[in-house]
Amino acid sequence: MDEKLRTSDDWLKNWRASIAVKITAAVLYVVVFVGFAVAVLALRDVEENLKNEYTSEADLFSFMIQEDLKGIPVLSPFAVESIVRSHFLSFHFSAVAVTVDQQRTLVGSPPDKAFMLMRTPHVEDPELRTALRVVALELFFPPLHDTVKTRRNRFLITTGLATLFFGFFLTWVIRKFITRPFQTLVNATKAVSEGNLALRLDTDREDEFGYLGGFFNQMLDQIMKELSERKQAEERLSGYARELQESNKELKTFAYIASHDLRTPLVNMKGFAGELRFAIREINAVMNDVLPSLDENNRTRLVTAFLKDVPEALGFIDSSAGRMEELINAISKLSLLGRQELKTELIQVQTIVKSALRDLQLVIEKKGIKVNIGPLPEICADRNSLRMIFGSILDNAVKYLRPGVPGEIEITAEKAPDGTVFSIRDNGRGIPNEEIYKVFEMFRRIGEQDKPGEGVGLACVKTLVRRHGGRIWCESTPGAGTTFHFTIPENAGLPDQALG
């Protein structure tokens, strides 16, 4: 694991932010409260205890002096003083005054306000062996009040320091076992959020942090796997997009070639057909002179060939060439629509619809078609394209009405997540379900072919809608009518919306 992740001392700069410090502080305050409660109880009888301690010391000292005096040959003040001096340093008192037969000697220096205790050990005179000699000991202890205070202060300072060290130790322990793994996890999460997905945590620990580290690593593995899969998919997708663009480009080139290069032989074909017709007329003029010289059989064959078969063939050539010209024009138109630059602007759709309806005014009035226009929004699109879209769909709606049924056309719009959905509903013939998928295909005409047309209109509409980044579909019930829906997105016509 990265060393940087392992050791972070941010908590030193901001103690309040550290969990270790918070826990330690809480524990320390509890310890201080408890410590003080104990201290108050422990130091409550300190004065009494000290008095008892001094009394015990005085008794012991007196007893020791008494025992030592038994062993000396002559009881003199000097001997007593030397015995007192030999034991003096082992006790807590500051000074001792020894009085032997009213002769007083002072050992040590008594402090101000000293606490004094008096003892008179029972001493036999070694020389007389019977007579009792009077020995008095005055023991001067440090002032009681001062000693009590000193003891309290020492106790409290020791407790305080112990608490402080305990606190530091606790902080260290919590930091080592809780804060540091947390900090590591925080740093790792930050690094991941900054994009370092190759990072992994230690999973050696056998506690919750170990598990957490394990799951964290597992999560990163999963994310990396998914990212790699997504990247591969994106690469595949961009490959497909490139291929699609290439094939689209080829298709456009093909459409361009088809519409331009096929036109030349077609013109030639029509021109030479005209030439042939002219030649036939010339032959016909000559034929009247020639026919009488031919026998019946040959005359019939010649007349059939020049007056019937050849004009008929020329008629077929003309109509086929005309049809082919129409197809080439349609391809050319579609190719142009796919290539032309869209000039998007803010358009009142109501105006466009009304303009398209104006072109069909005569037919609408003649057939008595009722047209309902709902509230239509203002959108951003190419004016000409939108005009063609509405014009073509409305033209179909007007064309394919049911005979004997008053026509009704309704144009509405509504907001959708992917833009504005326009709907054009009619009550015409409808489209059979099995053929509905062909509606937007080029040169496909559905149902009864009783109206003129090349089958390109809806293909062009689809191209224009697609170029705006929208989609088009239709719903139909045979004998009841058809509804065409198409969407125009908010940012229609932007370069990334159109494919090619």
Binding site: W15, V21, K22, A25, L28, N153, T163
Partner: protein
């Protein structure tokens, strides 16, 4: 100077004065803390103004939100310290001999940890 540092100094000084039994200096100590509490001329703020100029704002002035009392929690804390010390040192010195020590340790720890239970309690009570 932050309030936390000041608490650390305040607590440490109190403990030393108690240990050395310098009652005369303790009078001055209590006087300074009482002056801070009564006038709101707090030493940490004054020192910070000396360091950063007069534009330095008292953090308590920048507290946003609604408060029950328009009185700084830090001022109340100082007044509480003064009351505790006066009561324990001069009114009931025998029975409350331990209390100044407790105040000293509590201040010292508040300085070390940055967490002062008394200040938290005062703020909980509605002071700014």
């Amino acid at each position: 100077m932050s309030e936390r540092t000041f608490r650390l100094i305040l607590g440490g000084t109190l403990l030393l004065l108690l240990f050395w039994e310098r009652l005369d200096v303790l009078y001055v100590y209590i006087g300074i803390v009482a002056f801070e509490g009564l006038t709101n001329l707090r030493i940490p703020v004054l020192i910070s103004r000396l360091r950063y100029g007069r534009a330095y704002l008292d953090p308590a002035e920048c507290v946003v939100g609604t408060h029950k009392y328009d009185f700084d929690a830090e001022r109340v804390l100082r007044l509480v310290i003064v009351v505790f010390l006066v009561v324990s040192l001069f009114v009931f010195p025998k029975s409350l001999w331990f209390f100044p020590w407790f105040v000293g340790f509590a201040l010292f720890m508040a300085g070390i940890t940055g967490i002062c239970p008394m200040a938290m309690l005062i703020k909980k009570l509605g002071f700014k």
